[in-house]
Symmetry: C2
Subunit: 109 residues, 2 copies
DNA sequence: ATCGTATATCGTACATATACGATAAGCAAG
DNA sequence: CTTGCTTATCGTATATGTACGATATACGAT
């Protein structure tokens, strides 16, 4: 795409867009729901629940990890994943701030 | 990307991911902030505020429109845009539901 | 009718995302 | 050490996203 102009946008917008991007695929939303309801689980559990190949699920997990929304730890031959609660809360908060600001403007002005 | 498996995911996940995708670029977040603070504005106003060419801004507006988050109406030679409040509220609500469910699980179980 | 302004769309280039199978790497068990 | 299981990564194919300039379209004004 030619050159990205991302460095010319406010950091807050970049941060929020990064997190939203992490949720911009239904598989990643399903993964987060799954992780939340199980507390934690291994990659193989997710593969059973999703209509995707193991390698694809692994890619989505990597994306969520890079966005900071999940964390993983090695457990023998497995990888055990869970939601990165701290960052997830930051995301929820940032989103809430964004939504509230916009709603306030929409209603009051 | 080979064939998409999107039709095999729950509708709720698809809906939320679609909206998140609309916010997955900083320019579109900036546009929404802009529209909220101005109430409404024309494409040219946004072009002045963003580090992007007119045609690119128009593309981002189209994306937001297709996601249902903004609406536009022709005004003489201009296009006047504003936030689609009804859908935006649906989005905020859907996101809140998602976030709350996950948080509840994270805290209580 | 012509000119100027505003915007959407087209064409294009390149980047990134999504999907899969195959393979590599790591560990447990025998 | 070999076997079996789990997962990450590689290679690849294709789709989508992002950016620009150029152009078409639509309207108001002169």
């Amino acid at each position: 795409m030619a050159l990205s102009r991302n460095d010319e946008f406010p950091v807050k917008d970049l941060t929020l867009s990064k997190w939203c991007k992490a949720l911009s695929h239904p598989a990643r939303i399903a993964i987060l729901r799954n992780l939340a309801s199980r507390g934690e689980c291994i990659c193989g559990d997710l593969v059973l629940d999703l209509p995707l190949a193991q390698s694809t699920v692994s890619q989505h997990l990597k994306a969520l990890k890079e966005a900071g929304l999940v964390q993983g730890q090695v457990d023998g031959p497995r990888s055990r994943y869970c939601i990165n609660q701290k960052n997830f809360e930051k995301f929820i908060k940032a989103f809430g701030t964004f939504g509230n600001k916009l709603n306030k403007k929409l209603i009051c002005e």
